[in-house]
C-alpha cells in the first residue's frame, strides 16, 4: 500500500457527493459573471458613457471594492469586465475552493468517517489528493466556462483576453485550494480550518485594496492582486500568474508534509485538557448556544474590528481624493450624500453589514446542524427544555452576536476615523451608520429561521438570498437594475449613515418583519417532527 492507494475511488466518492454542489458553484459564479457582462452593451451603449463609467473607477470606494483600475483612458468592454468583475469573481472562486477542500478533508476526519475510509486500502495522502484533484479540476472548469462564455455573450471581448481572465480566476481558486489544504492540516475542527483560510482570503483582499489605494506595492503580496496584474483585455500579461502557480505548489507541498507528520483526526494545534464540570454560564439553551458558537463569533468580531479600523483610517484620506475628483464627487452627490467622507463611510458600513450577515446566517444555521447531528434529541426528548425555548436560545445568541460583530466594526471604524480627523464627535455617527443596518441583517436571520421551521432541508436557500442581496447592493447601481429588484433587498431600505437622514420607520418595519419570520419559523418547528 502506498500513501496514494485508493485515491481513484475517493475521487469518485467526492464527485458523487458533490455532483450537484460543484455544478451549482461553477454555474453560479460563471452565470453571475456572464449575466453581468451581457448587460454591458445595453447599459453603456457608447464610448462616452463608458468613459463616464471609467471616471467612477478612480474613486477610493470603487478601488477598494474592485481593483486598481487600468485601461481607463480607453474604457472598452474588456477593460470594464476585467476591472469590475475580476476581483470579486476571484474571491468567489477562492471561497468555493476553501469550502470544498475543507469539506472533503478535515470535515471528513472530524466526523469519524475518515477512520472508516482509512481502514480500507486507502493511503495516508489519498483523501487530501482526491480533494485537491477535484477542487483544482472545479477551478479549471470554472475558468474554462468563463473563458469560453465571455466572447459568446459579448463578442467584443476577444478570445485571448477571455482566456487570460478565466485563467486568472482559476489561479486564485488554485492558491486558496492549497491554502485550505494547509489549514485543514493545522486545525482540528473543520470550522476553524474554514475560518482561518477565510481570514487569509480576507487578508489577501485587504492587502490588495490597500495596495491599490496606495502605490500598488502591497497588491503584489496578494494572490488577488496577481490575478488583476494580468491586466486582461488591456495589456494581456500572463507572467503575474507565475507566483500564483508557485504559491499553490508550495501550499500543496506543505499540506502533504504536515499530513505526513500528524495522527489521523489530530490537528497541529494541541487540544487543551477540558473542564470536568460546567461553568455557571452553561445552564440552558442560551448558554449552550453561546458556547457552541463562541469560536465562530470570536473570529468574526476579530476580522470585523480589523476591517473597521482599516476603513476608519483610510476614510479621511480617501475623501480628500474624492473632493479633488469631479466625477467621484458627482457620483456621491447622486447617491444623495452630502460630504464625500460621509458617503464613503456610509457605503462601507452598508457593505460591512451585508458581509456581517454571513456571521448571522452561520450562527443561525446551528439549530439545523444540531438537529441533524442528533444533539437535540437528549435536550428536547429527555429534558423539560421545550422547542421554542431552545430555538429562541440560539436566536438570542445570534442576534446578540450580530450586534457585536456589526457594532464593534462600526465602533472601531468610528473611533479610528475620529482619531485620524481629530474630531471626537465623528465617531458616533459612524457607529450609528453600522447599527442602522441591523434590522436588515435580522430579516435574513428571520428567513433562515422560517426555512428551518417550514423546510429544514432547504435551509441553504438563505445563502442564495444573501448572495442576491450582496449582488444587488454592490452591482445594482452599476448595472442599473430596475428599482423594484433593488428594493427586494432589506438593505435598500436602511438609512445610509452618516450623511443621509435618519428615519426610524423602515427600521421598525424591517424589525417587525424579522420578528414575524422568526415567530413563523419557531411555530412551524414546534409542529414538525424532529430529527
Amino acid at each position: 500500500m502506498t500513501a496514494l492507494s485508493g485515491t481513484g475511488a475517493l475521487i469518485r466518492l467526492v464527485l458523487r457527493r458533490d455532483r450537484v454542489r460543484i455544478p451549482v458553484w461553477v454555474l453560479g459564479i460563471a452565470g453571475t459573471v456572464l449575466g453581468s457582462v451581457s448587460s454591458f452593451p445595453a447599459a453603456y451603449s457608447d464610448a462616452a458613457s463608458r468613459q463616464a463609467r471609467a471616471a467612477l473607477m478612480n474613486n477610493p470606494a470603487t478601488v477598494i471594492m474592485t481593483g486598481p483600475g487600468y485601461g481607463l483612458d480607453h474604457y472598452t468592454f474588456g477593460a470594464m469586465t476585467a476591472n469590475e468583475m475580476g476581483g470579486l469573481t476571484a474571491v468567489a472562486s477562492a471561497l468555493m475552493s476553501i469550502l470544498l477542500v475543507v469539506r472533503h478533508t478535515r470535515a471528513e476526519e472530524e466526523s469519524g468517517r475518515g477512520d472508516l475510509v482509512r481502514a480500507a486500502v486507502v493511503g495516508r495522502h489519498a483523501a487530501t489528493t482526491a480533494a485537491l484533484v477535484v477542487v483544482l479540476g472545479a477551478n479549471v472548469l470554472l475558468g474554462a466556462v468563463i473563458a469560453a462564455g465571455l466572447p459568446t455573450v459579448l463578442p467584443a471581448l476577444g478570445a485571448a483576453g477571455s482566456l487570460l481572465f478565466g485563467a486568472s480566476v482559476t489561479a486564485v481558486g488554485a492558491v486558496f485550494t492549497g491554502v485550505a489544504a494547509v489549514t485543514a492540516q493545522v486545525m482540528e475542527h473543520s470550522r476553524a480550518a474554514t475560518g482561518s483560510a477565510g481570514a487569509l482570503l480576507a487578508t489577501a483582499f485587504a492587502l490588495r485594496a490597500a495596495g491599490d489605494l496606495g502605490d500598488g506595492t502591497l497588491s503584489w503580496l496578494s494572490p488577488i492582486g496577481w490575478a488583476q496584474a494580468t491586466r486582461a483585455y488591456v495589456d494581456g500579461r500572463w507572467w503575474p500568474l507565475l507566483p500564483a502557480c508557485a504559491l499553490t505548489a508550495l501550499a500543496v507541498a506543505a499540506a502533504y508534509a504536515l499530513r505526513a507528520r500528524r495522527d489521523e483526526g489530530a490537528g497541529l494545534v494541541r487540544t487543551r485538557s477540558a473542564r470536568t464540570s460546567a461553568s455557571a454560564r452553561l445552564n440552558g439553551a442560551f448558554g449552550l448556544a453561546l458556547r457552541l458558537q463562541r469560536g465562530l463569533l470570536a473570529g468574526w468580531v476579530l476580522g470585523f474590528v480589523v476591517f473597521g479600523l482599516f476603513i476608519g483610517s483610510m476614510a479621511d484620506q480617501a475623501a480628500s481624493f474624492v473632493a479633488e475628483n469631479e466625477m467621484a464627487r458627482r457620483f456621491f452627490t447622486r447617491l444623495g450624500a452630502g460630504a464625500a467622507t460621509d458617503a464613503l463611510l456610509a457605503t462601507y458600513m452598508s457593505l460591512m453589514a451585508m458581509v456581517g450577515t454571513g456571521y448571522a446566517l452561520q450562527a443561525v444555521s446551528l439549530p439545523r446542524s444540531e438537529e441533524t447531528a442528533g444533539h437535540v434529541e437528549p435536550l428536547l426528548g429527555g429534558t423539560p427544555l421545550n422547542r421554542p425555548r431552545w430555538l429562541v436560545g440560539h436566536l438570542a445568541a445570534t442576534l446578540l452576536g450580530s450586534v457585536l460583530v456589526v457594532g464593534l466594526a462600526g465602533a472601531s471604524a468610528g473611533l479610528m476615523f475620529a482619531a485620524t480627523t481629530g474630531d471626537v464627535t465623528a465617531a458616533a455617527p459612524v457607529l450609528l451608520g453600522a447599527l442602522a443596518h441591523l434590522p436588515a441583517v435580522w430579516v435574513l436571520v428571520g428567513v433562515a429561521v422560517a426555512l428551518f421551521g417550514l423546510a429544514p432541508a432547504a435551509g441553504g436557500l438563505v445563502w442564495a438570498a444573501l448572495a442576491g442581496v450582496v449582488f444587488v447592493g454592490t452591482f445594482g447601481p452599476l448595472l442599473r437594475l430596475p428599482e423594484w429588484v433593488s428594493n427586494l433587498s432589506p438593505f435598500a431600505h436602511t438609512p445610509r449613515l452618516p450623511g443621509a437622514e435618519f428615519t426610524t420607520t423602515p427600521l421598525v418595519v424591517l424589525t417587525v418583519l424579522a420578528v414575524g419570520l422568526m415567530v413563523v419559523g419557531t411555530t412551524a418547528f414546534s409542529r414538525r417532527d424532529v430529527g
Binding site: 487540544t271 477540558a274 464540570s277 449552550l288 434529541e377 429527555g382 430529527g531
Partner: protein, 309 residues
C-alpha cells in the same frame, strides 16, 4: 394487552400507534403498556419500530394515528411538563464534540432542574468515567456512559432507555444492571429497549415483543413461555405408544424406550400422564429460553421463511 385508560398504575399506554416516513411504514398499529414501578423490556429486531415508538413517547415525533399516554399526559402536547418527570438515554449518544463529558452531564442536569453532586460523583465512579475529556475523544462506550450518568443522576419517575448498554464492556453492563435494580427498588419505572436478551431476562418484569411496527407478544416472561412449547426427553419403562395420537405434541421421535418431543403448554398435562402410565426412568424437560421466544417471532416475519420449531 395494554389499555388506553391512564391511571396511577399505568406509566405508558400506547395503542394502535401508526407512523409513516414518506412511503415506508415505521409503525403499524403498535401497542405497549408499561405499569408503574416495573422494568419493562421492549424487544424487536432492527427496524421493528422500537426507536420510533420511543421518539413519539418523547414528543420528538407526532404519531399519524393511534393514542399514546405517558405518565398520564399527552407526550406531544405536554412534552415540557412530562420531561420534568423522565430521563432518556438514546441508543447512540451523540455529544457536542467541543464540550467535555462533565459539562454535558451538568448541562442536561441543570435543564432538568439541578443535579445532586454526590449522586453525580458516585455514578462517575461506578461507571469509571473521566468527565474531563472532550466528548470528541470519547469512545462509543464512554459516550454511552455520559448519557447513562446524566440520566441516572436525575431524580425522575420514568427512565426511557433505548439500547443503553451498546458499546459497554461486561463490567460496565453489570454496573448498569445494578443501577437499574436500585431504580426499581426505589419505585421508578423503566422502559428498556434492548437486544441483549440476558439483560432483559435478568432485569425485566414484563416484556413486549414488536415486529414490523406491530406488537406480537406482551406479558411476563412466564406468560410468554406458556404460549410456547417445552422440550421433553424421557427414558421409559416401555415403548412410547400413544404419544403420537395426543394433540399438541410435535417433532416426536421414538427410538425404542427413548422418546423426545416438543409439547404445547396446554398439552403438557396429558403428555405427562401418558408417560407416567408407561413408566418413566428418567425425564428432562426444558422451558423455552427467551432466545427461542424471540427467534420464534422473528422467524415468522415472512411466511416463506418460517421455521417450524
Amino acid at each position: 394487552m395494554p389499555t388506553t385508560t391512564t391511571d396511577e398504575s399505568t406509566a405508558i399506554a400506547v395503542s394502535g400507534l401508526t407512523k409513516h416516513y414518506g412511503r415506508s411504514r415505521a409503525l403499524d398499529g403498535l401497542d405497549l403498556g408499561v405499569r408503574t414501578g416495573e422494568v419493562h423490556g421492549f424487544l424487536g429486531p432492527n427496524g421493528a419500530g422500537k426507536t420510533t415508538t420511543i421518539r413519539i413517547l418523547l414528543g420528538l415525533l407526532r404519531a399519524d394515528s393511534g393514542s399514546a399516554h405517558l405518565l398520564g399526559g399527552d407526550p406531544w402536547r405536554d412534552a415540557t411538563s412530562l420531561h420534568h418527570r423522565l430521563a432518556y438515554v438514546p441508543g447512540d449518544v451523540t455529544l457536542w464534540p467541543t464540550l467535555s463529558g462533565g459539562e454535558v452531564i451538568d448541562l442536561l442536569g441543570r435543564l432538568r432542574g439541578g443535579i445532586d453532586p454526590r449522586r453525580r460523583a458516585e455514578l462517575l465512579d461506578r461507571f469509571d468515567l473521566d468527565p474531563g475529556k472532550k466528548a470528541r475523544t470519547y469512545s462509543k462506550g464512554n459516550r454511552q456512559k455520559v448519557g447513562l450518568v446524566a440520566a441516572l443522576a436525575s431524580d425522575v419517575e420514568l427512565l426511557v432507555l433505548d439500547e443503553p448498554t451498546s458499546g459497554l464492556d461486561p463490567l460496565m453492563e453489570e454496573a448498569f444492571r445494578e443501577c437499574v435494580r436500585e431504580e426499581r427498588r426505589s419505585g421508578r419505572t423503566v422502559l428498556l429497549s434492548s437486544h441483549v436478551l440476558a439483560e432483559v431476562e435478568a432485569l425485566c418484569d414484563r416484556v413486549t415483543i414488536v415486529r414490523d411496527g406491530r406488537t406480537v407478544e406482551s406479558g411476563t416472561l412466564s406468560e410468554l413461555r406458556h404460549l410456547t412449547r417445552t422440550s421433553i426427553s424421557a427414558e421409559l419403562a416401555g415403548t412410547g405408544d400413544g404419544l403420537a395420537e395426543l394433540s399438541g405434541v410435535h417433532d416426536l421421535s421414538v427410538d425404542g424406550d427413548h422418546v423426545s418431543c416438543e409439547v404445547d403448554s396446554s398439552a403438557l398435562d396429558a403428555v405427562l400422564r401418558q408417560l407416567g402410565s408407561i413408566g418413566v426412568r428418567s425425564l428432562t424437560s426444558r422451558p423455552p429460553t427467551l432466545e427461542e421466544l424471540f427467534l420464534k417471532h422473528y422467524e415468522q416475519s415472512d411466511g416463506d421463511r418460517a421455521v417450524t420449531r
